[in-house]
């Protein structure tokens, strides 16, 4: 005990609240006190599940994680690729046709090579972001510049893509996409969207 006292009530206080190490926070977000432990747990789950999905270029995040699933579970390894190559952009264009307005130069037919390639780029960037949760602004800086000064995609579309990404995760993971994993991904995608839009004005 550090023997701290409240200056007004003279009541003995406990240890100073944990403010979190730099490695536990998303940029621009102060996580204080009792929320730090929950936040760390969410980030660990995020990394675990991204590892389980087999994010490209990842060789073991070194975090305590569930073991890879056996024959009864979803495919490990190929899942991240299948997320990127077909389902995510195709689903977004189908559910939110307004998003197609940003791709007038694309062949938007089912399974077009352009959609597959673009999906791979988007999910690859998300994979990078997950591996650098502690420094999203720097990791996504070039993409942030691109979206702000060149593409000028309305930020509402980041929410639409994030929602479709979560639906794809739900479809692939089923009941394994628990509320705890859901909130971790929701926070992560919201943080990525905020970074992509941070240079807009």
């Amino acid at each position: 005990m550090c023997g701290r006292r409240c200056w007004s009530t003279r009541r003995t206080l406990g240890p100073r609240p944990w403010r979190g190490r730099a490695g536990g926070r998303l940029p621009g977000r102060r996580v204080q006190g009792g929320n730090q432990r929950r936040h760390n747990l969410e980030m660990t789950q995020l990394r675990c599940w991204t590892e389980l999905l087999g994010a490209p270029g990842q060789e073991g995040a070194g975090y305590p994680c569930r073991p890879a699933r056996g024959s009864h579970g979803p495919q490990v390894g190929g899942l991240w690729d299948s997320l990127s190559l077909t389902s995510l952009p195709r689903r977004m264009f189908c559910v939110y046709p307004s998003t197609k307005t940003y791709f007038p130069h694309f062949d938007l037919h089912h399974d077009s090579e352009q959609i597959r390639h673009h999906g791979k780029k988007v999910v690859g960037a998300l994979g990078d972001a997950v591996r650098h949760l502690d420094n999203l602004s720097a990791t996504l800086s070039e993409l942030s510049n691109l979206h702000a000064y060149n593409l000028r995609v309305d930020p509402v579309n980041f929410k639409l893509l994030s929602h479709c990404f979560q639906v794809v995760l739900g479809v692939h993971l089923g009941r394994e996409y628990t509320p705890q994993v859901h909130v971790a991904y929701d926070k992560f995608l919201a943080a990525v969207s905020a970074v992509l839009a941070e240079k807009y004005r």
């Binding site: 189908c94 559910v95 639906v167 509320p179 859901h182």
Partner: protein
């Protein structure tokens, strides 16, 4: 918009459903376990968007995801909410009238920000995706997104 609909204001808020969309919605709804999915949807809302707990201070222990998932009042209310959603599925051509009274209730008595209807709608979509991965194709999701948007819009219509 046709001349007829331009004259009748109520038609402006009608949603037009294709036969395929109706089929996608009703066939999936037939498989939904209302108690299970409704309870899960409400629990996820309270976990993923914790500020929504402000409307449920009488529900007891909502201090952790485990507490929320195991809370019997959350489960019961989730079932009630999703049962009401079923009314929309049964009355796809008149969602506005179906929710007129509930809209008034949410505005005047419950004081719920209509943004929460969209949040719950999207959570429901994700719950359906996890429960019915094979059926929840992009076309199916598109139909259900249209439905949850229509319900959210109908619930917000009575606000003043």
């Amino acid at each position: 918009m046709s001349a007829a609909s331009a004259k009748d204001p109520s038609l402006v808020t009608m949603v037009h459903w294709t036969a395929e969309e109706k089929q996608l919605i009703t066939s999936l709804w037939g498989k939904v376990n209302v108690e299970e999915c409704g309870g899960e949807a409400l629990a996820r809302l309270l976990i993923v968007y914790p500020w929504t707990q402000r409307f449920f201070s009488a529900f007891g222990n909502l201090s952790s995801p485990t507490a929320i998932i195991g809370n019997p009042k959350v489960r019961a209310h989730g079932k009630k909410v999703l049962t009401s959603f079923g009314d929309a599925v049964k009355n796809l051509d008149n969602i506005k009238a179906t929710y007129a009274k509930l809209s008034e209730l949410h505005c005047d008595k419950l004081h719920v920000d209509p943004e929460n209807f969209s949040l719950l709608g999207n959570i429901l979509i994700i719950v359906l995706a996890t429960h019915f991965p094979k059926e929840f194709t992009p076309a199916c999701q598109a139909a259900w997104q249209k439905l949850v948007s229509a319900v959210a819009h109908a619930l917000a219509l009575g606000y003043h």
